[in-house]
Amino acid sequence: MDILSGRQASLLQETALEVQNLTILGLRSLLNLFRRPLYLRETFEQMDTIGVGSLVITMLTGFFTGAVLALQTSKTLSSFGAVGYTGQLVSVTLVRELGPVLTAIVVAGRVGSGIASELGSMLVSEQINAMRALGTDPSKKLVTPRVLASITMVPVLTIICDLVGVLGGFFVAYFLLGISPVLYLTSAYDRLTYSDLVQGLIKPPIFGFIIAVVGCYCGLRTYGGTQGVGRSTTQSVVTSMILVFVSDFFITRLLLAFI
């Protein structure tokens, strides 16, 4: 007796194929770094779009997350008479977990969707075919610059998100909770360990890679005209968010075992 029905087997096969193609595209985008031409101009343009373009929204996200964290944790901490640890809790939570994940979510929503819709529109209007016909490899010209820019810019955005988040927590701690600024900042800074920083800096480039590769993959497999572009955009955001959460769990598990 077959364990899987024909429909289930076909779905499993399709999913495996999608994962395989996504992996191939990701590997190709990295291998292209060792093949000429390098398209540095396109890479810097993408760095500007991804990095500078996402700066304000990342800062806002970081600031209010830090502020809410301070509000929520101080309430619990005060019942133990440990409100002075608010700074530590905000900084450690942001640096280890919330900074990388929230930045990745913001970038996936803003940049991943943009990449998918741009490449999807180029595909349906035959610009990608025109590019190939003119002797250009689209994976080199379009995918690699976006992946490289995302790998480098997501960590920068994450660091900014962490800093602004700690600042948001500081405002709440000082103005609303009446915690001494020195106490907050000292506990926020002193309690951060090497392990926290490593965790906080290893995740963002991986998330950046996932977002850009998923965005490019969804864009480059668009079908069905403008409606298809919308579908690819949605799929890109949903898929990259899920992959960010799943990979976050496994990276954290792995890092906790070694650091």
């Binding site: 209007s125 035959e126 610009q127 075919n129 025109a130 190939r132 003119l134 002797g135």
Partner: protein, 274 residues
């Protein structure tokens, strides 16, 4: 044009028993034809008959499931993408609707291939761009963005982009579709100009009979020291190097000259020409 492998006796394009499926649908069924050097092959057929697929196979954007595709004496159907890049330098393609890069100006679109090759400096590239845009009578649009161009201008800019690098083979995918008769005529005259002045081999996909008969009957030549488009009707000796090929449901049902297609007794062809 300085390719050491160039064999003047081999056909520019040759398809041998090509079969192509999309999923389970048969798109091309045992298609074979030859385009000689300097010849224009007009492919006629209804929507979905496989016309555009043939162009994509010739330039290597798609691979055949069976059969062989010979370009300039090389069998390309099993080539890897990196090898196809070299073959594509010999071919220019004009896509339906032009497929101009909408984030680049007309000048940058036309200069695209040269920028990618990186062999010329900016001044030399600009000179090539100006000359090519002059050929398609679009010098004034050099700084414009594709969104600012009319349909006809977009097609002419696409032809200019395809012409950069002096390809020996040109592929046109319905370049006159959706254009008014005057603009369509301008495009046809450009194709004739390339065929008769530059000796470019080409495949021209269309379902407009007006295109077919204007290209099959007109030629560009010198008369009293002036270049002009002439026709057989004017009593001139016709040296037109154009053949027609008709597809129906992925199979070739006609391959010959325009006089022959007019005399065809095939019911589908007669309906198509009516």
């Amino acid at each position: 044009m300085g390719d050491s492998n160039w064999d003047p006796l081999s056909p520019a394009i040759e398809l041998k028993n090509v079969v192509k499926y999309y999923d389970d649908a048969l798109i091309l069924n045992n298609v074979s034809f030859t385009v000689r050097r300097g010849e224009t092959k007009i492919i006629l057929g209804g929507s979905g008959s496989g016309k555009s697929t043939i162009l994509k196979l010739i330039i290597g954007l798609e691979k055949p499931d069976e059969g062989e595709i010979w370009i300039d004496g090389e069998e390309i159907s099993r080539f890897r993408e990196s090898d196809l890049m070299r073959v594509r330098q010999k071919i220019g393609m004009v896509f339906q609707e032009g497929a101009l890069f909408d984030s680049l100006s007309v000048a940058d679109n036309v200069a695209y291939r040269l920028h990618e090759q990186g062999e010329l400096d900016e001044e030399e590239i600009l000179a090539v761009v100006a000359k090519t845009l002059g050929f398609v009578d679009l010098e004034d649009a050099i700084e414009k963005m594709p969104s600012e161009l009319s349909g006809g201008m977009r097609r002419r800019a696409a032809i200019a982009r395809a012409l950069v690098g002096s390809p020996r083979i040109m592929l046109y995918d319905e370049p006159t579709a959706g254009l008014d008769p005057l603009t369509a005529r301008t495009i046809n005259e450009l194709v004739i100009k390339l065929r008769d002045l530059e000796g470019v081999s080409s495949v021209f996909v269309t379902h407009r009979l007006k295109d077919v008969f204007s290209m099959a009957n007109q030629y560009l030549g010198h008369q009293d020291g002036v270049l002009r488009y002439m026709t057989e009707e004017e009593g001139n000796l016709c040296l037109v190097n154009t053949r027609l090929l008709m597809l129906r449901d992925g199979s070739i049902i006609f391959d010959g000259f325009d006089e022959e297609i007019r005399q065809s007794q095939d019911e589908y062809i007669q309906k198509f020409l009516a």
